[in-house]
């Protein structure tokens, strides 16, 4: 927040102070007395979150491989040069974008369709809603193992069974289309999340406007396009941001399904950091990877946050 923003809040306080129902203004000392007890918590949180981050930055400037070198040694940022010139890293960046973007878009589309469907009254709707939301509450590891053997496996799995029954060739999902398989699994897991947010949005849709549009002769599509969708926009944006933030950290599904392979085809940044830190024990390089990917992530997320800040300002732009 900038200086002007602070100044404006002060003005507001003064304006409010004239209001007889408002509490009396607080003195500086009073403000600090109220904040005081919170300070230890604040300091604790800062230490807990910022010290590891600082350590990461320090480690990222050292050569520190657990198995080969003993102590960490400063190496003049060689790790960063290695990160930027490392083909596997850029591969993992692309994989992260494809995985996160693909799943987010698929979740929003399917979630929106399901939300529209489940927003209509029909017998057994409560049951259908519960079923639709269930995947999100299945433990990720259990869900992944289930998909690995019960769905994707060409001999045991449902997909293989359907393909055989239809006389189609079997598809080795995890070997031949590993990225598609991961996106399918992640979409299955996260559609309920999008659904929950979008259904809340649909339920708060302006009924009066929808009725007025109906009276004016707008058909279902036009009503959706011009009344519901603008109302839903902030909900869609919020769902997209939260989904992307969740999906960018995908780890367990990759570890269990493909171990990042074949040939790094499903290694995202998170998994690549895990590989370098906890398989190769190269903590210096892994720290540098972490710092670089943090910068990249912030660069990606910031524009989205700016877009979204509209939600918090206008409480929905409908």
């Amino acid at each position: 927040m900038s200086q002007t923003a602070l100044a404006s809040t002060d003005e507001v306080t003064e304006v409010v102070a004239i209001d007889p129902t408002a509490p009396p203004p607080m003195s500086r000392a009073e403000k600090w007395r109220r904040r005081g007890p919170l300070l230890p918590a604040l300091v604790f949180t800062l230490l807990l979150t910022q010290i590891p981050f600082l350590m990461t930055i320090i480690f990222s400037f050292s050569r520190w491989r657990l198995l080969t070198d003993g102590e960490a040694q400063f190496n003049w940022g060689a790790n960063y040069v290695n990160v930027v010139t490392d083909g596997t890293f850029w591969r993992s960046v692309i994989n992260t974008v494809v995985m996160t973007g693909g799943t987010t878009i698929a979740c929003l589309l399917i979630g929106l369709l399901m939300a529209i469907f489940l927003n209509h009254a029909f017998p057994g709707r409560g049951f259908a809603r519960t079923l639709a939301i269930t995947p999100f509450f299945v433990m990720p590891v259990a869900a992944t193992l289930f998909w690995k053997s019960a769905m994707f496996d060409p001999s045991f799995g449902l997909f293989g069974f359907i393909a055989r029954s239809l006389g189609l060739p079997q598809v080795a999902w995890l070997s031949e289309y590993p990225m598609a398989a991961l996106i399918i699994l992640l979409t299955w897991r996260f559609v309920p999340f999008a659904l929950l947010i979008l259904i809340a949005g649909l339920q708060s849709a302006p009924q009066d406007q929808l009725e007025a549009a109906q009276v004016d002769g707008a058909n279902v599509f036009l009503r959706f396009r011009h009344v519901t969708l603008p109302h839903l926009r902030p909900f869609i944006e919020l769902a997209a941001l939260l989904l992307a933030m969740n999906l960018i950290q995908t780890f367990g599904e990759i570890a269990l399904l493909t171990a990042g392979g074949p040939a790094y085809a499903t290694t995202n940044i998170t998994y690549y950091i895990y590989l370098t830190a906890f398989q190769s024990f190269d903590f210096g390089f892994a720290s540098a990877l972490g710092v670089v990917s943090l910068i990249l992530t912030i660069a990606l997320i910031l524009p989205m946050l700016r877009l979204l800040s509209g939600i918090f300002k206008t409480e929905g732009r409908a």
Binding site: P37, K148, P154, S155, E176, P178, G261, A263, Y264, Q279
Partner: protein, 458 residues
């Protein structure tokens, strides 16, 4: 009002502080007592079936050793490794006893992360060091031959196959087949209509997954990882032939989705009757029979030695999970007592009687192979396990002389990094997203860079 909040906050803070001090005092008092009093040791174990049996039988140890409490941290293999490595390398002192694979043992001994066991072992006559199988004892010792970990179990690799399917297809497998015979058998037994693949082999990336199996095949084809001057040999014709053979066999007659299957996937596929053969670790023999879907499958599981290639070299690998005492351990004596118990002859008897003879840790002691109950329960594989372990030669794993030891791995610290990269590239070849030569060329470049940077051969 505000004032009382302030006070309440302070009081809470004070209580928290006092509690922390009291708690710290308690653990400090309980943890470091040496003689007479209670001692607690923490043991880190891999979550493999045999180790879980040991965890369940700990009551026996605590009864025999009053005053020593044992706490277990049981983690999946690939989580155990980083957890324990972090702990010992930073001297954090969380674990007194750590389970370590034979690849890590000499490296850790070299760093001084685990302490030598020779004095404990020679003082503890009942433990009987001479009873350990020689090849297994060697791979849990350091470069000078000093024992630094006690082998919990030892294993090699061999071929599992289904007698009934082989008979139906009209193939017979000798006790020492060649890879060509195995390929022909896989072709004959491959049965797409019934969803049975000819063979199952590891395809999942990871230096401990597909690379272990592929490296044994490279060895039997006369290939190697490095020559005597530490020049990378991943693109030499023999190495490439071996890899090409493995990839072709897997792509032609292997399990579907091969690049995503590790030993877990193959154990499932083989015991469910979806694969006619399986090339993997001897320690899974009992599990494969135990978890077979039908008695018909269980009764027809048979074994041969690891197949050999054109070079006529024995190709089974050699592995052991050993128990070592970390240098940061506060109670090394108690730690040894635990190790001595878990790796003793008595323990093997106990596990056999209490948990079943399929659950004993095999391949560590000669005396195990003289127990009549075990020989009866493991009649199909006990003999071959011992033969395979004795045939493996980690000191000279390849046809040409090489500067490294280890059959299915290269005994250098950099191998985990190199191995993970190469195994990813080979998984790409197995899935068909790149050719074997593309995979090997990328691997060659990467490996040479790491080796050069680390200063080998200079």
């Amino acid at each position: 009002m505000a004032h009382s909040n302030w006070k309440r906050g302070l009081t809470a803070l004070g209580i928290a502080g006092v509690t922390a001090v009291v708690l710290a005092g308690c653990t400090g008092g309980g943890g470091d007592s040496a003689d007479g009093g209670e001692v607690t040791i923490t043991v880190a174990l891999a979550a493999n079936p045999q180790m879980q049996t040991a965890e369940s039988l700990i009551g026996d140890f605590e009864e025999k050793n009053p005053g020593i409490n044992v706490e277990f941290t049981v983690l999946p293999e690939n989580e155990l490794r980083p957890a324990v490595t972090k702990d010992v390398s930073t001297n954090a002192g969380q674990y007194d006893v750590a389970m370590i694979g034979s690849y890590e043992v000499p490296i850790w001994a070299d760093r001084g992360w685990i302490i030598p066991l020779d004095e404990y072992a020679s003082a503890d006559t009942e433990w009987d060091e001479a009873d350990l199988l020689e090849p297994i004892k060697n791979i849990v010792s350091d470069g000078d031959g000093t024992l630094v970990a006690a082998p919990f179990y030892g294993s090699s690799s061999f071929l599992f196959y289904r007698k009934d399917l082989a008979e139906a297809a009209g193939v017979t497998l000798s006790e020492t087949p060649t890879w060509d015979e195995v390929r022909a058998a896989a072709e004959a037994m491959d049965d797409d209509a019934n969803n049975v693949s000819g063979i199952c082999m590891r395809g999942l990336p990871g230096w401990g997954q597909n690379l272990a199996a592929i490296t044994t095949v490279i060895n039997t084809f006369g290939g190697q990882w490095f020559n005597e001057d530490w020049e990378t040999e991943l693109t030499m014709p023999e190495t490439e032939e071996g890899v090409q053979f493995y990839v072709d066999l897997l792509r032609d007659f292997g399990q579907p989705d091969a690049a995503a299957a590790g030993w877990e996937g193959c154990l499932q596929s083989f015991s469910q009757g979806q694969s006619a053969m399986w090339y993997d670790d001897t320690v899974f023999a009992g599990s494969a029979i135990d978890s077979a879907a039908t008695p018909e499958i269980a009764d027809n599981i048979a074994f041969t030695m690891a197949p050999t290639g054109p070079s006529d070299l024995a190709s089974g690998w050699l592995w052991s999970w050993g128990l070592g005492i970390t240098k940061s351990s506060q109670n090394p004596d108690a730690a040894w007592k635990f190790i001595s118990w878990a790796t003793s002859k008595d323990y093997i008897q106990l596990a056999g009687q209490e948990a079943g003879w399929d659950s004993i840790p095999p391949g560590s002691r000669k005396s195990t192979y003289e127990i009549p109950e075990y020989l009866e329960a493991a009649s199909r594989y006990a003999d071959l396990t011992i033969k395979s372990i004795e045939a493996a030669n980690p000191l000279q794993p390849t046809v040409n002389p090489v500067p490294y030891t280890g059959v299915q791995y290269v005994q250098i610290p950099e191998f985990v990094e190199i191995g993970d990269y190469v195994s990813q590239q080979l998984a790409g070849a197995i899935s068909g997203s790149q050719t074997v030569s593309e995979a090997l060329e990328a691997s060659q470049t990467f490996t040479s860079d790491v080796i050069k940077e680390s200063g080998y051969g200079q």
